[in-house]
């Protein structure tokens, strides 16, 4: 029964690697084979669409180059994401804390997402220069939104009876927030964080289009007009791997931080599996 499967998640994924990842691996291999076959049969030029074998070769040959740039991007991602998490949680808390603040802040939060960053990137460059800062800001700008929206919904999902209980125990607003609303919001927050983490990677790439001298985004922008398409794809592979690993990492942290959310489901699942 689908819904009764243990929600083993990342931890289970890692533990049960050998078996459970088989389907995924098979699909990936099949797709790669198809791709390789397509490129070979139709003789697609590598400047247009390099074949998996060519990309793999590039990954190996340019390993040093790629990892140097990947490291730069990773730092931007992590710092920007950290900033997004901190500011996102703070903003969401303010929004959930008071209706007035919600009305005052939420429109700006939404508006911030509809501003095409590429349009203001040059302004960022002028205002804050061309170091780590503008990239981190672009990452944070992209990543904080899913965090805020999910966290606000999560904070509002707190059981009102539990809030009543706290009030009868003499809890003040802060207590209620810290001990009921915040814990209730965590499952939602983690949903948002998974999205945010993935978006951070693309955010760093966009950030690097302006004012950078290193990073995978920079490498791509530079390689493209030289028609080193296989290098562009190699960079994409590294970016994807980074994104997936960071996503899985958030899943892992989720299991550690809110074990009750998972065990609640798992226990029942074990019970039902018979």
């Amino acid at each position: 029964m689908s819904s009764n499967r243990p929600r083993v998640g990342v931890l289970g994924m890692i533990k049960g690697f050998s078996f459970s990842w088989l389907p995924s691996l098979l699909i990936i291999l099949a797709l790669l084979a198809l791709w390789e076959g397509y490129v070979r049969i139709f003789d697609v030029q590598k400047w247009l669409l390099p074949s998996p074998v060519v990309i793999a070769a590039t990954l190996v040959e340019s390993a040093a180059l790629l990892s140097r740039h990947a490291w730069v991007t990773l730092v931007e991602v992590l710092v920007g994401f950290g900033l997004a998490l901190a500011s996102g949680v703070a903003l969401a808390s303010m929004i959930a804390f008071s209706r007035t603040l919600e009305r005052a802040i939420y429109p700006f939060v939404i508006a911030s997402q509809t501003i095409p960053i590429i349009a203001v990137a040059p302004l960022l460059l002028i205002w804050i220069g061309y170091g780590l800062a503008p990239k981190v800001i672009v990452v944070a700008l992209i990543a904080f939104f899913p965090i805020v929206v999910n966290m606000v919904d999560g904070l509002k999902s707190a059981d009102p009876d539990m809030v009543s209980l706290m009030r009868t125990l003499g809890a003040n607003r802060r207590d209620i927030f810290m001990k009921v609303q915040f814990p209730s919001s965590l499952p939602f927050l983690f949903s948002g964080t998974k999205i945010a983490m993935t978006f951070s990677v693309i955010g760093a790439v966009i950030g690097e289009w302006v004012g950078s001298s290193a990073g995978l985004g920079y490498l791509m922008i530079r390689s493209k007009p030289q028609f080193l398409t296989e290098r562009v794809f190699a960079a994409i592979v590294v970016l994807s791997a980074m994104g997936i690993l960071l996503f899985l990492f958030v899943g892992l942290v989720e299991r550690l931080v809110i074990p009750w959310w998972h065990t609640e489901r798992r226990k029942r699942a074990l019970e039902n599996s018979g």
């Binding site: 030029q45 400047w47 040059p122 002028i126 004012g211 530079r222 493209k224």
Partner: protein
């Protein structure tokens, strides 16, 4: 009428005075007279033009000579069929107030560029030509493609990659007189900034269409040469005219007129020694990994057919 052919043309950038001849040919029906229906569009990333033309999804495209050579080095089968301008438009630009008048003045200064290797090499050559060691003498800053604002704001002291027929006008209009250092005057081999490209396949299979297309284009630019401002009027009347900035395109057209056609060359003409020396320069500067026979990168086969 069965002869009518529909072709796709990818522009290098949004419609501007560089494209006047194309819009004239469209409006005056020169394309139609050749039984051609031309669909023009602008891909935002100009480097995609060579790929889409090379792959055959576009029939013609406007690109840049350095890019074309790099593309060919990677096996993209694209060929220049006409030099759209006879000289580089790319240049080094600084504010007049900066006191910079020659490359040597850039020593110790910040120079903004689009983050592409070509820009680095162009600057390097100019610096060396004027007696400096090279790139090590300046601080290069990747500022993306918005070169003018960073210059005015003082983020950088000069930029490389700005067109002396576009950004300079923009800056002057905004009240900032500028100094232009033309590439070909400071040691960079003269080259054709913009080139009309087609794929090798296209040239082999459909030379008549290419010929008809170029004939119409040449007629368009002949009109533009005769009266550039009338050409701007045509551009303004076009579908995208509303977004065109007259204050830039009017002076731009006047600046372009002398490079569409020079005393030495007609519109579109290409010279093989200029192609080769620029290719050699690119190889010397590491932009091409191997030496290249530039004669395959362009064709003059359509020039006589007037």
């Amino acid at each position: 009428e069965s002869d009518q052919v529909s072709v796709k043309l990818a522009l290098d950038w949004y419609p501007n005075s560089n494209h006047l001849g194309l819009f004239i040919a469209e409006e005056k029906g020169y394309f139609a007279e050749e039984n051609l229906v031309v669909n023009m569009y602008t891909p935002v990333d100009p480097s995609t033009v060579l790929q889409t033309v090379g792959a055959g999804s576009d029939d013609f495209g406007i690109s840049y000579q350095p890019e074309l050579l790099m593309a060919r080095a990677q096996g993209v089968p694209v060929v220049s069929i006409a030099g759209m301008v006879q000289h580089p438009l790319n240049s080094v630009v600084a504010l007049a107030s900066s006191g910079i008048t020659r490359p040597a003045d850039l020593k110790g200064k910040k120079v903004g560029y689009a983050g592409l290797p070509t820009g680095e090499s162009l600057l390097d050559t100019m610096l060396k030509y004027d007696g400096l060691v090279g790139l090590g003498d300046v601080e290069l800053v990747n500022v993306g493609f918005d070169l003018a604002p960073v210059l005015i704001s003082g983020t950088v002291d000069a930029v490389v990659g700005a067109y002396w027929t576009h950004e300079t006008i923009l800056l002057e209009n905004a009240g900032y007189p500028v100094v232009v250092l033309r590439l070909e005057e400071w040691g960079v081999p003269d080259y054709y900034e913009l080139v009309m490209v087609a794929s090798e396949d296209k040239l082999a299979q459909d030379p008549q269409v290419v010929e008809r297309f170029l004939r119409a284009v040449r007629r368009g630019y002949a009109d533009a040469l005769a009266d550039p401002q009338a050409g701007v009027d045509v551009l303004l009347r076009s579908a995208q005219g509303e977004e065109v900035d007259v204050a830039i395109e009017r002076p731009g057209a006047d600046l372009l007129k002398p490079v569409w056609k020079t005393s030495k060359a007609d519109f579109g003409e290409q010279d093989s020694s200029r192609w080769q020396s620029f290719a050699d320069w690119m190889h010397d500067n590491g932009l091409l990994a191997e030496e290249m026979d530039a004669s395959k990168a362009f064709t003059s086969q359509f020039e006589d057919s007037k």
